[in-house]
Symmetry: C2
Subunit: 344 residues, 2 copies
């Protein structure tokens, strides 16, 4: 596509009426950065609890077929997040495969960012058959965004430190041919920094399936947030394309894979991740700074009984922790990069 | 609410995966202007055709109840657009009534903008029982946005010229106690201008239910667009609140109704409409300017058979006419007002 066109992204994830997770984050974030987003909502819930409806595999397929019939399947990128159940995961994988197939003569024209939402901290929180469903389709992804536990599930490598992490990523590159991998959270301290810091670790594979590992470390913000993984996914989708466009000719390479001469910290994936984390750090900090006043205002509306029994406190905390995205458009659009990628 | 808080809007309308109508317009537009939007999607369709699923009245009620249970029903405003079927319309009306009831001690704290989507140009395009459903609930609305035909259906006044238009609006003010009305399109030429111009006509009622009529005339753009009514609704929701906040104390008046001493062209509703039409004119012009290249790019992907038979031309035109919102964020945020309200 020519450079004056708007990049079209198909975003497949959950929708919540109120608050910011899934597509509620992805759509606004990508639109704010100038992307044209088609939003295929896999569920519609009120909020974080499960009041609402889910799309079936057939619903998802029908919606996609409707797009195709209107010549609206001309996507440059796809971002997929939470998908309810193995059959629906397979349906989403079929869409990605078809979009790849449509571009088989120019494979660089479609790029799939897959967040394989399965679990965290050693616990699977989806149906067990979702795991093999993802394993069956990750080979079609260009960039995957597992947390440490999801990387273990996909690679079948138990991650206990940097060596096994590297082995897991190499398995994903080499066995599944996934060009780009970012482990969005690790539960060990990769380079001995204190637990007040977090790291993400990324790699774009070389032509022979080897890792090019980089790490970005940033101070953690002492609060519980929901939707940080979804925000990462939306931002990396936008920033990866921009970083690739900054390198002459790279956008025409299959899966936007850099030459073997490019080192880990020179990778567009590293550049993109730096920018993503800059936006996230600003938004999370501002969200934390506003939490108390949101909680206090909401508490003021409680009945005396609710106040006496502490009923509602959990909901209030959850409400107060909603990412403040619309209030911080500039942090999404023009963040100040503070945390730089380091070679591992 | 204090001025440093983000205004919370409940937007109830249709969702399309690709393209811009209904909530796909409302959510981005309001978020771009800094509003926190809860998006209750009444349908999920692929696009303009009807592939997809509809929410039932029960689904809508359940989603709202889910919000309430999480203390997320603290809305400052509500914007409702297309709702599928009379039962669902009644369910949406119940939500608005409940939000009014919650604020009965400070009635200015909730403002409902209702676009009574029923038909156009003399033709009803919803189920017949939707009309009485709307009639039963418009008295709870603060601002309604009918086109000429919908204003006729609600007021039962046949509109053939300015006198009958005024009579229709006065009926809506006086009989249904609707404080603010904007007729978003009229199919006669109100002040003798040529058909290359369009008008919207608005009024905020006086304390005794009389009209204060203003008109804004602007050049029409010779193209077919979809979603212009939805864009109007989203923008007027944002701009009405801003215009009211510009007048000391007005935000504390029930339904934000100006004193009787305020003339039609001084109304915040007039100020808001001027800004809305400025944004719309810029976005429509830029959309029209980009149409041909979108159509050409899409045509280039057709098979020879499709090209020979002209198959697909309708879909291509429709795709090319999608409002270019994400490409024109500045036109949403900071439009240049060109068309001013005139007293009728």
């Amino acid at each position: 596509m020519s450079s004056d066109e708007t990049t079209r992204v198909l975003a497949v994830a959950s929708h919540v009426v109120s608050g910011y997770v899934g597509n509620k984050i992805a759509v606004f974030t990508l639109q704010s950065l100038g992307y044209d987003v088609a939003a295929l909502n896999t569920v519609q819930f009120s909020y974080r609890q499960w009041t609402g409806t889910k799309a079936t595999a057939q619903d998802i397929t029908d919606l996609y077929n409707g797009l195709r019939q209107s010549y609206l399947d001309d996507f440059d990128m796809m971002l997929s997040g939470y998908v309810p159940g193995a059959e629906a995961v397979v349906a989403v994988g079929k869409i990605a495969k078809e979009l790849k197939e449509n571009n088989k003569d120019s494979p660089s024209n479609f790029f799939w960012v897959l967040d394989p939402v399965m679990g965290d901290n050693g616990k699977i929180y989806v149906a067990e058959d979702v795991v093999p469903a993802y394993k069956g389709l990750i080979e079609y992804a260009d960039l995957i965004l597992p947390n440490q536990f999801e990387a273990e599930l996909l690679s079948e490598v138990k991650i206990v430190g940097m060596d096994s992490l590297k082995a897991a990523i190499e398995t994903l590159h080499d066995k599944y041919r996934i060009p780009h991998v970012i482990i969005t959270s690790v539960n060990f301290s990769p380079s001995g920094q204190s637990m007040s810091h977090l790291s993400v670790i990324g790699s774009s594979m070389t032509s022979n399936g080897k890792t090019r590992l980089f790490q970005i470390t940033f101070p953690s913000i002492d609060s519980y947030f929901c939707g940080t993984g979804d925000m990462f996914g939306a931002l990396i989708t936008a920033r990866m394309r921009e970083a690739v466009q900054d390198v002459a000719g790279l956008i025409n390479q299959a899966s936007w894979l850099s030459d073997d001469s490019v080192t880990a910290i020179e990778l567009p994936l590293a550049r993109a991740t730096e920018k993503v984390l800059a936006s996230m750090h600003e938004v999370l900090r501002k969200t934390r700074d506003g939490m108390q006043s949101v909680a206090e205002r909401t508490r003021a509306t409680l009945t005396e009984e609710e106040r006496a029994t502490g009923k509602g406190e959990q909901q209030i905390k959850s409400k107060a922790s909603e990412l403040r995205l619309v209030q911080n458009l500039e942090s999404l659009r023009s963040p100040k990069v503070q945390f730089k990628a380091q070679q591992i």
